[in-house]
C-alpha cells in the first residue's frame, strides 16, 4: 500500500512548504512547528514503512520498483521523438516517475531521519529568530526537493530535485538576507551549483542521445547489456559531464568554494543541507549511474583522483581555520572527497556506506557546534572559546562521540566506513590506486588532528571567553540536546551495520546494496577480469593480512592526530600560537587563506577583482561585451545613421546647387527670358483677350470657309 503511494513522501513536505508560502505570515510558531516538523516526521514514518514493504517486494533481488505518475516532458504518446546517435529514433519524454531500490531506500531513510532530527533541533535553535515560518517553509521545500531527487526514476526528475535543492540552499544560505555576506554567499552557492547543473544536463543529454532514454532502468539495462565497449568515448564523455554536475553539487575541487561560504546560513541549515543531505546528492547520482561509470574507466580514474585531491586539500585548509563552522565545512568537503575516492576506485558500496555514517556524525558535529554557538550567544570563533566541557556537558559528550567517529577510532562508525574506503583504494585494480591510498591516509591523519583541535579549543582548553559571554553560557534546551543524543547513538551504531568480513562481520550493508551495483554487470567475460568484476565479488577471495595491517595503520593515524592536537591545544590559553604558524609561517598563511583559491577565482573566473586594470573572467567578458555592444555595434548603427546623414547633406547640397541651380532654375530663367516679349502681350484687359479670341475665331473660320 505504501509502495504504491511512494510519490506521497515528497508531497508531505511540499504540502508544508505551500502552506507556509500562503499562510505562513499569519501562523504562530506552534502551528508552524506542527505543520512543518509534522510533515517531515510523517514523511520519515511513511518512508520506513515503504522501505520495509519494498524489502518484501524485492525480497533481496534488488529489483527496482517503479511508479510513473504522468509524462512530464514530451508529448507522452511518443510522436515527439528525436534521432539518436545511431540514427534510430527514440521518443523524447521524461516522466514524473518514482523509483525505489536499495540505493534510494538507504538515502530515503537517512535523509528523512536526519531531516526529522534537524527539524526538531531547529525549532529550538530558531526560536527567537525572525522569519520563523519562512525558515521552516524553505526547509520543507528543501526536503521535498531532496526526496524528489532521491526517488526520481529518470535523470530529468532527478534534475528537478537537483535544482530544487540548489534553490533551497540559496534561499536558506541567504536567510539572513539583510547581511550582505549572506546574500553574496547564497548567490555564489547557487551560481556554482548552476555550473555543475549545466554539466549534469549535458551529461544527461549525451546519455539520452546515445541510449535513447532518460530512465535509469533503461540506461542501466542497456549499459549492462554488453553492447558498449569499455571506454566507449560517448559514455566516458557522459560520465565526465555527470561528474562535473556531482562536483558542483557535492563541492569537489573545482566547485567546492561555495560550501565554506554557505556557513553564513543558520547552523541547522548547514547541518541538514551542507552536511547530511544535499552534498550527498552528487554521490547518489554517481552511484545511481554506476553502470555508465563502470564502462568509463577514465571517468572512474578522474573521480578517484578528484576525490582524493579534494580530501587532502580541504583537510589541509581545515587545519588552521578558527571559525568552528568553517572547520566543519572543510571537513565535510574532505569527507566528500573520501566518498568520491571510493566511488572512483569502484567501491560504490563503501562510498555509500561512508555517506551513510558521515551523515550522522557530521550532522551531529554541526548541531553540536550550533548548540555551542547558541550557548556562546552567537560567538563562532574558537579563539574566544574554551573550557566548555563542564558548562555544556551533553553537547560536549555528543560532540566527543562524533569527533571519535569522524577520526575513525575503532568502535565508532567513522572507522568502519573510512577504513573500508582506504582498504578498497589500496586493493582495487591491483594496486593502481595505491598512490591515492597514501593521500587518503594523510587526510585521515589531518582529519583526526583538526577534529581534536576543535574539541580541545572549544571544550578542554582553558577558557578564553570574554566576561559577559561567560555569564551567558548555558546548556541548550531539551529540543536541541535530544536530537544530539540520538545522532550520537546513530553515529556509533551506524558503523556496525557493515561489520567487515575481516573482523568476522557479514557486511549486511554491502550485501543489501549489492544488486544495485554489481549483479547484472556480466560484461564481456572474454575481456578478462576488468575492474567491472572487482567491484562485485571482491570480498570473498582475500581477507588476507594486508587488510588488518591497514586497519591498524589507520587507527595509528587517528591516535597520532589526537596526540598532536592534545599536545598543542590542551593548554591553549588566550593568545595561544598555532603550531603551524610557529613552525612554517608561509604554510600557515597559505592554508589560512584557503590557498588563495577564492581570490584566484575572483581574479580569473568571476572577474570581481581586476588584474591590474583589466578585468578578467565572466564580469570582464561582460564588461568587454557591453563595451563592444555599446561602442561597436551601437556605434556601427549610429555611424550608419551618421553616414546616411552625411550622404543626405551631400545630396541636399547637390540638389540645391547643381540640379536646382542648373537643371531647374536654369530653364526657368531661360523661359522667363524667352517669355518676356510674350508677356508684353498680356495687359490684363478682358477685351483684349476677347479680341484675341475673335482673331483666333477668324483664323479658324477663314481656314474652313476657304478650304
Amino acid at each position: 500500500m505504501f509502495l504504491n503511494h511512494i510519490y506521497l513522501i515528497p508531497l508531505f513536505p511540499a504540502f508544508g512548504a505551500v502552506i507556509m508560502f500562503f499562510f505562513g505570515r499569519r501562523l504562530q510558531k506552534a502551528t508552524v512547528n506542527a505543520v512543518c516538523v509534522g510533515a517531515v516526521v510523517v514523511a520519515f514514518l511513511f518512508a520506513c514503512f515503504t522501505v520495509v514493504e519494498y524489502t518484501h517486494f524485492a525480497h533481496g533481488t534488488g529489483h527496482p520498483f517503479e511508479k510513473i505518475l504522468y509524462t512530464w516532458l514530451g508529448s507522452g504518446d511518443g510522436h515527439l521523438n528525436f534521432v539518436k546517435r545511431d540514427g534510430t529514433t527514440a521518443s523524447f519524454n521524461a516522466d514524473a516517475g518514482f523509483l525505489l531500490d536499495p540505493l534510494s531506500s538507504i538515502w530515503l531513510l537517512f535523509v528523512t531521519g536526519v531531516g526529522m532530527l534537524i527539524h526538531i533541533y531547529s525549532t529550538g535553535y530558531m526560536a527567537h529568530e525572525g522569519g520563523y515560518y519562512r525558515f521552516f517553509g524553505y526547509l520543507n521545500l528543501f526536503m521535498f526537493a531532496m526526496l524528489t531527487l532521491i526517488l526520481a526514476n529518470n535523470y530529468m526528475m532527478l534534475f528537478v530535485g537537483w535544482e530544487g535543492v540548489g534553490l533551497c540552499s540559496y534561499l536558506l544560505i541567504g536567510f539572513y538576507f539583510h547581511r550582505n555576506s549572506a546574500s553574496t554567499a547564497a548567490n555564489k552557492a547557487f551560481i556554482v551549483n548552476r555550473i555543475g547543473d549545466a554539466g549534469f544536463i549535458l551529461g544527461a543529454l549525451t546519455l539520452a542521445w546515445y541510449l535513447g532514454s532518460f530512465r535509469f532502468t533503461d540506461i542501466n539495462v542497456q549499459a549492462r547489456g554488453g553492447h558498449f565497449a569499455i571506454g566507449d568515448p560517448v559514455l566516458t564523455a557522459a560520465a565526465l559531464l555527470l561528474f562535473i554536475g556531482a562536483c558542483g553539487k557535492s563541492a569537489q575541487i573545482p566547485l567546492y568554494i561555495w560550501l565554506p561560504d554557505a556557513m553564513e546560513g543558520p547552523t541547522p541549515v548547514s547541518a541538514l543541507i551542507h552536511a547530511a543531505t544535499m552534498v550527498t546528492a552528487g554521490v547518489y547520482m554517481v552511484a545511481r549511474s554506476n553502470a555508465v561509470f563502470v564502462l568509463a574507466p577514465t571517468a572512474m580514474k578522474t573521480v578517484a583522483i578528484v576525490g582524493a585531491l579534494t580530501a587532502v586539500f580541504a583537510a589541509s585548509i581545515g587545519l588552521v581555520q578558527n571559525d568552528i563552522k568553517r572547520v566543519l565545512a572543510y571537513s565535510t568537503v574532505s569527507q566528500l572527497g573520501y566518498m568520491f575516492l571510493a566511488l572512483g576506485v569502484g567501491a560504490f558500496a563503501a562510498g555509500v556506506f561512508h555517506v551513510f555514517t558521515h551523515a550522522f556524525f557530521k550532522a551531529l558535529l554541526f548541531l553540536g557546534s550550533g548548540s555551542v554557538i547558541h550557548a556562546m550567544s552567537g560567538e563562532q570563533d574558537m579563539r574566544n572559546m574554551g573550557d566548555l566541557r563542564r558548562r555544556i556537558p551533553t553537547t560536549h559528550w555528543t560532540m566527543l562521540v562524533a569527533t571519535l567517529a569522524i577520526a575513525g577510532i575503532f568502535p565508532f562508525a567513522g572507522f568502519f566506513s573510512k577504513d573500508e574506503i582506504l582498504w578498497q583504494t589500496w586493493a582495487s585494480e591491483g594496486g593502481a590506486y595505491r598512490i591515492l591510498w597514501f593521500v587518503g591516509y594523510g587526510t585521515a591523519l589531518m582529519t583526526a588532528f583538526y577534529m581534536f583541535r576543535l574539541m580541545y579549543l572549544t571544550f578542554y582548553s582553558p577558557s578564553r571567553m570574554s566576561h559577559e559571554a561567560e555569564h551567558h553560557v548555558h546548556e541548550s534546551p531539551k529540543s536541541m540536546t535530544v536530537p544530539l543524543v540520538i545522532l550520537a547513538l546513530c553515529s556509533i551504531g551506524a558503523g556496525w551495520l557493515s561489520w567487515p568480513h575481516s573482523l568476522g562481520g557479514s557486511a549486511h550493508f554491502e550485501k543489501f546494496l549489492e544488486p544495485v551495483f554489481a549483479r547484472e554487470a556480466v560484461v564481456l567475460v572474454e575481456e578478462g577480469k576488468s575492474a567491472q568484476l572487482a567491484a562485485g565479488e571482491k570480498e570473498a577471495e582475500h581477507t588476507d593480512k594486508t587488510e588488518y595491517a591497514l586497519m591498524f595503520l589507520s587507527l595509528a593515524a587517528a591516535g597520532v592526530g589526537w596526540g598532536m592536537a592534545r599536545h598543542s591545544y590542551a593548554r591553549a590559553a588566550k593568545g595561544y600560537k598555532e603550531p603551524i604558524a610557529v613552525d612554517a609561517p608561509p604554510l600557515y598563511k597559505l592554508l589560512y587563506n584557503k590557498w588563495f583559491v577564492d581570490e584566484g577565482y575572483d581574479y580569473v573566473f568571476t572577474g570581481r577583482r581586476k588584474v591590474g586594470k583589466v578585468r578578467l573572467g565572466v564580469m570582464g567578458a561582460g564588461e568587454a561585451s557591453s563595451w563592444f555592444d555599446a561602442k561597436v555595434i551601437d556605434g556601427a548603427v549610429n555611424d550608419v545613421g551618421w553616414v546616411t546623414k552625411a550622404i543626405a547633406t551631400i545630396s541636399t547640397w547637390w540638389d540645391k546647387w547643381i540640379i536646382d541651380g542648373v537643371g531647374v532654375n536654369g530653364p526657368a530663367i531661360l523661359a522667363r527670358m524667352i517669355s518676356y516679349p510674350a508677356r508684353l502681350f498680356e495687359w490684363g484687359l478682358v477685351q483684349w483677350y476677347a479680341l484675341v479670341m475673335v482673331a483666333g475665331l477668324l483664323g479658324f473660320g477663314v481656314y474652313y470657309v476657304w478650304k
Partner: protein, 552 residues
C-alpha cells in the same frame, strides 16, 4: 461553414479602439475602464478557441480557416485569409493574455494623452493578432507593418527621456528588415506565378509552400538571407539587436511588456512559418545552419554577459531577452522536432517570464521613477509580496525545473544536442549566466538593508498589480508542472515542418550536390549529414561501428 471566430478575435481590439474614439478625452476613468473591458473581452473571446483547438490538435494543416485565397484584392491575388495551427494558436493566446495584462498594468502608469494611448494599444493588439493569423503573405505584411506604427508611437510619445532616438531607431531598423522581407515575398510571389500550372498570382501561404522549395539553391540562398535579416532584426539576433535595449529602456512599462512579450516572437514565428518551410534545402544546408546557430549561440552568451554588467534594470532585462531568444533561434535551427517544440514553448515562456519581469521593473519605476539598480537596495524588507513574486519570476526566467523556463530550455538543449552536441555545449553556459545576472540583480535590489532613504516609504503591491501577475504565475506553474498539453498542441505542426524539411532537402540534396560546389564531406550520401549529426546514418550500430567519436 467557415468559422469566424478568428476574425472576431482579431477585430475586437479594433472595435474597442473605435469605441474609445467616442469617449470624451477628459474623463480618463471611462477610457481606462472601456479599454480594459475590451482588452479583457478580447482575451475572453480567445478562450473558447482553446477547447475548440484542443479537439482538433492532431489534424494536419491549418485550422479555423477563414476567407478564400484572393477575395480581398483579387487582381493581385491578395486574400483576407486567416488560419492558425498549433504554433500560432499558442502565440495568439499569449498575445491576448499579455495584451490584457499590459493594458491593466498601465492603469496608473499613463497620465497624459490617455485616450490616444489606449487607442494605439488596441490597434497594436489587432496588428499583432493579425500577424499570427494571416495565411496570406500580403495580409501578413500589412499587419507586420501596421503593428510597427502603434509601437513607434507608444515609445515615441509615452517613453522615457531618449524616447525619440529609441523610437526612430526601432522603427527604421525593423522597417529595413521588413523591406528586405518584402523583396523576398515579391520574388516568391512571381516565382509562384511562373511555376504554378494554372498560372495564377496569389499570396496565399499554403500555395507558396508548394512552390517555394522548388527555387534553385543559389537563388533560394539569397531569398533566405533577405527573410533572415528581416526576421533576425525582429527576433533580435546577435548583430541586429542594438535597437532592443534602447526601445525597451525608453518604452513605457506596458509597451515594453508587449514589445518583449509578443513583438519579439514575430521574428521567431517568421522563421518557423516562413523561412523553414520555404527554403528547406537552404536551411538544412550545413554552412547556413552553422552560421545561424553560431549567431544564436553568440546571442545567448553575449546577451547574458552584457546584461550581467548593465546598470539599468530594464536594459538588463532587455539583454536577457536577447539571450533567451538566442535559445529560441538555436532551437529553431536545430531542425528537429524537439528543437522546434522547445523553441516555440520557450517563446511562450519568454513571453510570460519577461513580460512579468518588465511589469516588475515597471512597478518599481512607477514608484521611484528611476531604473538605476544602485538606487535600490533592501526592497524585500519594504515590499515582501513584491519580492516573492519577483523571486518566482526570476526563477522562471532562469529556467528552474518545475517552472516554465526549464521546460522550454531543456527541450531546446535536447534538440540542439541531438543536432550537434557542440551547440548544446556552448548553449549550456547561457543557463548559468542567466542565473548569475538575475540573482546578482536580485541581491543588489532586494537583499541587504534599506540604504536609500527614499525606499523606506515604498508601498507594497496594490491588488490590481497583483492581478496582473496572477495569470502569469499560474501559466508559469502550469507549463512547469504539466507541459504535456503544450507538447501535444505543438506536435503536429512541428513534425510537419521537420518532415517537410527532410523530404525537400533530401529531394533536392542530390540536385544541390551538382549545382552548388559545396565541399560537403563525401563519406555519407546525405550532404552535410555528419555535420548536422541529427540524421547521421551509421552503417551498423553497436560495438565495432567506426569509432567515430561522437564529438567530431
Amino acid at each position: 461553414m467557415q468559422s469566424h471566430i478568428l476574425s472576431i478575435i482579431l477585430f475586437t481590439p479594433l472595435v474597442g479602439a473605435l469605441a474609445l474614439l467616442f469617449v470624451p478625452k477628459e474623463n480618463k476613468n471611462a477610457i481606462r475602464w472601456i479599454a480594459n473591458l475590451f482588452a479583457f473581452g478580447g482575451f475572453l473571446i480567445s478562450l473558447p478557441l482553446v477547447p475548440m483547438f484542443w479537439a482538433q490538435r492532431f489534424e494536419p494543416g491549418f485550422k479555423f480557416l477563414e476567407g478564400t485565397p484572393n477575395n480581398w484584392i483579387p487582381s493581385i491575388g491578395a486574400g483576407y485569409n486567416l488560419g492558425i495551427d498549433g504554433i500560432s494558436f499558442l502565440l495568439i493566446m499569449l498575445t491576448t493574455l499579455l495584451g490584457w495584462i499590459s493594458i491593466l498594468s498601465s492603469w496608473t502608469a499613463i497620465e497624459n494623452r490617455v485616450k490616444e494611448y489606449y487607442v494605439w494599444f488596441l490597434v497594436l493588439q489587432t496588428g499583432m493578432l493579425g500577424v499570427f493569423m494571416a495565411l496570406d503573405f500580403f495580409l501578413f505584411f500589412v499587419f507586420w507593418e501596421a503593428m510597427l506604427v502603434p509601437m513607434y508611437l507608444l515609445i515615441g510619445i509615452w517613453g522615457g527621456p531618449r524616447k525619440l532616438y529609441a523610437a526612430i531607431k526601432f522603427f527604421l531598423y525593423t522597417l529595413l528588415g521588413s523591406v528586405l522581407m518584402l523583396l523576398g515575398i515579391l520574388y516568391l510571389y512571381f516565382h509562384h506565378h511562373t511555376v504554378s500550372n494554372p498560372q495564377v498570382f496569389t499570396f496565399s501561404i499554403p500555395e507558396l509552400y508548394k512552390t517555394a522549395p522548388l527555387i534553385p539553391f543559389n537563388i533560394a540562398i539569397w531569398l533566405f538571407v533577405a527573410f533572415f535579416i528581416g526576421f533576425a532584426i525582429k527576433v533580435p539576433m546577435f548583430p541586429f539587436h542594438t535597437w532592443l535595449p534602447d526601445a525597451h529602456v525608453e518604452a513605457p512599462t506596458a509597451g515594453s511588456v508587449i514589445l518583449a512579450g509578443v513583438l519579439l516572437k514575430m521574428g521567431t514565428y517568421g522563421f518557423v512559418r516562413f523561412s523553414l518551410p520555404f527554403f528547406p534545402s537552404v536551411v538544412s544546408h550545413p554552412r547556413v545552419q552553422n552560421w545561424v546557430i553560431v549567431l544564436s549561440l553568440i546571442g545567448i552568451i553575449y546577451g547574458a554577459l552584457v546584461s550581467l554588467m548593465q546598470k539599468d534594470m530594464k536594459k538588463l532585462v532587455a539583454y536577457s531577452s536577447v539571450s533567451h531568444l538566442g535559445f529560441c533561434t538555436l532551437g529553431i535551427f536545430a531542425l528537429n522536432s524537439a528543437g522546434l517544440t522547445g523553441s516555440v514553448l520557450q517563446q511562450i515562456n519568454h513571453g510570460i517570464s519577461t513580460g512579468a519581469l518588465f511589469l516588475i521593473v515597471g512597478i518599481l519605476y512607477e514608484r521611484r521613477h528611476t531604473r538605476e539598480i544602485a538606487e535600490y537596495g533592501g526592497i524585500s524588507n519594504v515590499m515582501p509580496i513584491y519580492a516573492t513574486i519577483t523571486m518566482i519570476m526570476f526563477l522562471s526566467s532562469m529556467g528552474l525545473p518545475l517552472l516554465n523556463g526549464f521546460v522550454g530550455e531543456f527541450t531546446i538543449l535536447q534538440g540542439a544536442f541531438t543536432a550537434n552536441w557542440k551547440w548544446a555545449a556552448w548553449a549550456a553556459p547561457g543557463v548559468v549566466l542567466a542565473a548569475a545576472y538575475l540573482l546578482w540583480l536580485y541581491q543588489r535590489v532586494f537583499f541587504g538593508t534599506v540604504t536609500n532613504a527614499k525606499n523606506e516609504k515604498l508601498h507594497d503591491l496594490t491588488p490590481r498589480e497583483i492581478l496582473t501577475f496572477v495569470p502569469l504565475i499560474i501559466m508559469a506553474l502550469w507549463i512547469g508542472l504539466y507541459p504535456k498539453p503544450f507538447f501535444q498542441i505543438l506536435e503536429q505542426p512541428v513534425n510537419q515542418i521537420v518532415q517537410n524539411i527532410h523530404d525537400k532537402s533530401n529531394a533536392n540534396a542530390a540536385v544541390n550536390a551538382q549545382v552548388a560546389p559545396v565541399p560537403g564531406p563525401t563519406a555519407a550520401a546525405e550532404i552535410g549529414s555528419d555535420e548536422v549529426g541529427s540524421n547521421l546514418v551509421v552503417s551498423k550500430p553497436g560495438l565495432t561501428a567506426a569509432r567515430l567519436k561522437a564529438s567530431n
